[in-house]
């Protein structure tokens, strides 16, 4: 597909910005150093911006002008992210821009780049949205499917009537755990059963008691 031909861009309702550059231009990499765009320079770079986005930043345009092709995806999402952090881009516009540009920049790989950035920088809400939209767009992508599993929200899958009461054990921990810092301990019904340097050793020492589901085996942390 000739991506420069608007007729063939499958998002006809969107504005897009096209920049041309024929010579190397120093480019600022967000969150990083400076590069010189050289032999990998892409003379024409298009980034599609959602038509609903009226406030996209110049940062994005300037970046699209000068980015070498092979790292464009990374820089695109970095630029978008920086713009979002400055409040010039909404989270939804961020996700939508990634979706719109993904066909031109490695399909699911642009989503991967975006996910890798958002997961480092942000609570999981935006990442979850990226994963959801990415899987919808590229359901065959194994990588995105794995992200979908990792970022799937927690869900209650079973409810079971309470069978035990561990209030004595939990109160014992409040009163005594500081005496066993750095050790694995086994406690049942508010009584210390055993201690060990490792969980494996503790389980071995407990013998059949290790199978008792009312025995708490836990490490007492130093901090």
């Amino acid at each position: 597909m000739n991506i420069w031909d608007r007729q063939n861009v499958p998002f006809a309702d969107y504005n897009y910005t096209q920049k041309r550059s024929s010579k190397p231009i120093p480019a600022k990499i967000y969150n990083g150093g400076t590069i010189n765009a050289g032999e990998h320079l892409r003379p024409q770079t298009v980034m599609i911006v959602p038509s609903s986005t009226s406030t996209y930043s110049l940062d994005v345009e300037q970046t699209t002008e000068i980015i070498p092709n092979k790292i464009f995806g990374t820089l695109l999402v970095q630029a978008l992210w920086a713009t979002l952090e400055k409040g010039q881009f909404t989270a939804e516009a961020f996700v939508e821009t990634v979706r719109l540009n993904a066909p031109m920049y490695g399909q699911d790989k642009l989503f991967q780049e975006a996910i890798e950035i958002t997961r480092r920088e942000e609570p999981n809400a935006i990442t979850r949205r990226l994963v959801t939209v990415g899987v919808e767009a590229y359901p065959q992508s194994e990588v995105l499917m794995n992200y979908a599993k990792a970022f799937a929200p927690p869900r209650v899958i079973e409810r079971q009537p309470a069978r035990h009461n561990f209030s004595k054990t939990m109160r014992w921990l409040s009163a005594h755990s500081h005496e066993y810092v750095g050790q694995w301990i086994a406690v049942r019904d508010g009584e210390l059963l055993d201690t060990a340097a490792s969980l494996k050793a503790l389980i071995a020492q407990l013998g059949t008691l290790a199978d008792d589901e009312t025995v708490m085996t836990t490490y007492i942390p130093t901090t």
């Binding site: 079971q160 309470a162 969980l199």
Partner: protein, 154 residues
């Protein structure tokens, strides 16, 4: 100590409550919320940490789990108490224990740090807000060290 059993039940605020530990480990001056839970067949304790994106488990606990009870779904890096850890993301079930009411079995993603050869994990297990408590309604009564919890309907 009064427990608010009237808020437990179907269509009520919570489905169960449990007693939490409020002082735990070496930092006796700090107050925490430490809950009992089952990971695999092991009954362990974990600190509620609303800043943690994932639950974090001591690798020694995961070593004791059946491989069939979990699935590796990725990897991640986490800054935990100022130290950067690489680790695996696994998907598994954690049972939040109730002294009264209902235990809840929760399918969640867990971060398991990968330790160096002679490194020891000397931190607690953590229950993250986003990766675990996110779909639970919960409340704390510090007078009786009671943690009330219930599922949020989808």
């Amino acid at each position: 100590m009064n427990r608010f059993g009237e808020i437990i039940g179907d269509d009520r605020f919570a489905s169960g409550y449990t007693t939490y530990t409020d002082h735990y480990g070496g930092e006796v001056q700090n107050t925490r919320i430490v809950l009992p839970l089952y990971v695999g067949t092991l009954l362990v304790s974990a600190v509620v940490d609303t800043a943690a994106p994932w639950c974090i488990l001591n690798p020694a606990i995961v070593e004791q789990m059946s491989p069939n009870s979990m699935e590796r779904v990725g990897e991640d890096r986490q800054n935990i108490r100022g130290i950067k850890y690489e680790g695996d993301l696994i998907r598994t079930n954690i049972k939040l224990h109730a002294d009264y009411g209902e235990d809840l079995v929760i399918d969640a993603t867990i971060f398991v740090p990968i330790l160096k050869f002679d490194e020891v994990w000397n931190l607690p297990n953590f229950l993250g807000l986003d990766g675990f408590l996110h779909r639970l309604r919960f409340a704390v009564d510090p007078q009786s060290n009671t943690f009330y919890f219930g599922m949020i309907a989808d």
